[in-house]
Symmetry: C2
Subunit: 340 residues, 2 copies
DNA sequence: TTGTAAGCGTTATCAC
DNA sequence: GTGATAACGCTTACAA
């Protein structure tokens, strides 16, 4: 059996309340007794039982982080940022992936973490009523990452993707002289894809450029399907003098590779850009023009917001917006401007 | 306040012990009362308090996973495998990165997770006495991932990297007719690097091939430093007709890119291979020959071992070995064999 | 089959 | 400044 507060009390010849005081508010106890208790604690290697503590304080110092899945650079970075900040603030992080095709129970249990988390950050990338209802009934503080729930009070951290996506399309139109841009998105239910697509439509409209029926594809954010799509389409795209705007770096990488596979040069014959600025964007040949999304900051900010609410439950719901930013590298062909 | 067992008892007109029985061993209670209790539970949305439960049962159903850091494809996959299996087995996963340059406390607190985890899987990639001592004093069951602690009883899951690395070097020597192979490793204290290097030395020795003083580099597993090294060395390597064996895919990707940057063709002028078979290996041009390491299985197996020990504390310590496997793609130039 | 009551290890509220 | 003692919500003998 582990050493309990009682063992310490006996050893130091004091009552358990004194030991508890030393642990929590050391200054209100006599210096001598404190010294005695402290050395007893050290000798016995006493560490308070979290369960007993949690039972009293209703607090576990554990935060939950629920992600759509655990695949790829994007989520890793979110986790990394969250973990780091959580540790700084004295919390532990519990990770869960809200498995797709959720039966509700899965998400709920993931979110509430069997009830031992003090708060939870949830990333909801799919927009649907089901998720909304589940989250609306969660009883602990939660912050929504990269999304918003109508009619439910909660903190959220969102990315101003609109800005980044618009910058990108503007860049393509203005600096790369694109006349036609093909958009390759994730699932059409995906929140990010919708935002990025909206920005694309918007800028295209303002620039009086047409979006043809063949100009929008919905994939799933993965490399392989994008690669396959590319294999089928790149030659046509080159003929039509089109650019490709993929909704994440992985898909952009797939398309770049497909182009190269077909003997097409990027960016001189086909320009391809991505989104997120994961490390993949720096590993493609040519280096990828993309939109930087502050992934680890998202995680860190979510944790911060959560902790702040835990300290101060009554504060008004806040929505924190993080900026995205155009990163011009080589795959968009814009360097020609300077080279010429 | 959340609904407690007492609320349910009142609503169902039974005592709290009956409710408890329904929750845990439903069969020993009368069908009618059980039905009544169950509907009360459902109506009230009752969920047992984990702290109270943990206090009694000394069990939280939370497992810890401590990784050297949270960067890159490799660790993501480990997390993914662990998370999935943990959920299947009814556990939650708590993630921590054992920050480098550990002061001991950090690792210890990461490992014991403030005492609320039932067991923990630790990946120790650096071999040092300090880590050894800390882990030796952990009081909860733990399994070591990809390593072993001498003189301490514990389960472990290891990769037979030796086999994969040997296959790779043999492949390079036999099928790619390599006469000189440059090894690019991680830090020289890194466990994996040592294993892979040992296999390299071994096979080179057996093949009567020399390893020159300039043939071994210690980097840090990251893309950028490898890229920079490549920029400096590739031309020399081509002149010397050397192959490059990098200790992970990321570094291999960096070197491939550096070669291309220098106008050198891979694999016809320079052959480069990696290790791990992360998704990066499928994103390089040309596709990378590498050694597949079952990353998600590592995570899953660690969780499994942990759970088994939790069920059966007295069972003998087991060491589970997972196989690594050579994956021949294009960057090694071996396809020439079939093409010719 | 069900209820009563004694813990589990803490913290908080009182006396002293 | 310190020590009893009552919670906290649950499980589990033991009694009925």
């Amino acid at each position: 059996m582990a050493v309990s507060i009682e063992d310490v009390a006996k050893k130091a010849n004091v009552s358990i309340s004194t030991v508890s005081r030393v642990m929590n508010r050391r200054n209100i106890v006599n210096v001598d007794t404190r010294k005695r208790v402290e050395s007893a604690i050290r000798e016995l290697g006493y560490r308070p039982n979290v369960f007993a503590r949690g039972l009293m304080l209703q607090k576990s110092c554990v935060l939950g982080l629920v992600l759509p899945n655990l695949h790829g650079e994007f989520y890793t970075e979110v986790i990394r940022g969250a973990d780091f900040r959580a540790r700084e603030l004295g919390y532990q992080l519990m990770i869960s992936s809200a498995v797709k095709n959720d039966d509700g129970n899965t998400l709920l249990s993931a979110v509430s973490g069997h009830g031992l988390v003090d708060g939870v950050a949830v990333m909801v990338s799919e927009v649907n009523a089901h998720t909304h209802d589940i989250l609306a009934n969660v009883s602990i503080p939660f912050v929504v990452l990269d999304g918003h729930l109508d009619g439910v009070k909660h903190d959220s951290v969102v990315i101003d993707q609109r800005y980044g996506a618009e910058s990108m399309v503007c860049h393509l139109v203005d600096n790369c002289h694109a006349k036609r841009i093909v958009f390759v998105g994730g699932l059409d239910t995906n929140f990010d894809t919708r935002e990025r697509l909206a920005a694309y439509r918007d800028v295209m409209g303002k620039a009086k450029l047409k979006i043809g029926p063949e100009d929008i594809y919905y994939l799933d954010y993965q490399y392989e399907p994008a690669y396959k799509l590319g294999l089928k389409r790149v030659e046509q795209w080159v003929q039509d003098d089109a650019c490709v705007f993929a909704a994440n770096d992985e898909m952009a990488a797939g398309i770049i590779d497909a182009a190269i596979e077909r003997g097409i040069s990027v960016p001189s014959e086909l320009r391809v850009v991505g989104f997120d600025d994961t490390r993949i964007a720096q590993m493609t040949r040519p280096r990828m023009t993309t939109v930087h999304v502050p992934m680890s900051s998202m995680g860190a900010s979510a944790v911060e917001l959560l902790c702040r609410r835990l300290d101060e439950p009554k504060r008004p719901a806040t929505r924190l917006t993080l900026q995205s930013e155009l990163i011009v590298r080589v795959s968009c062909g814009a360097v020609d401007r300077f080279g010429s």
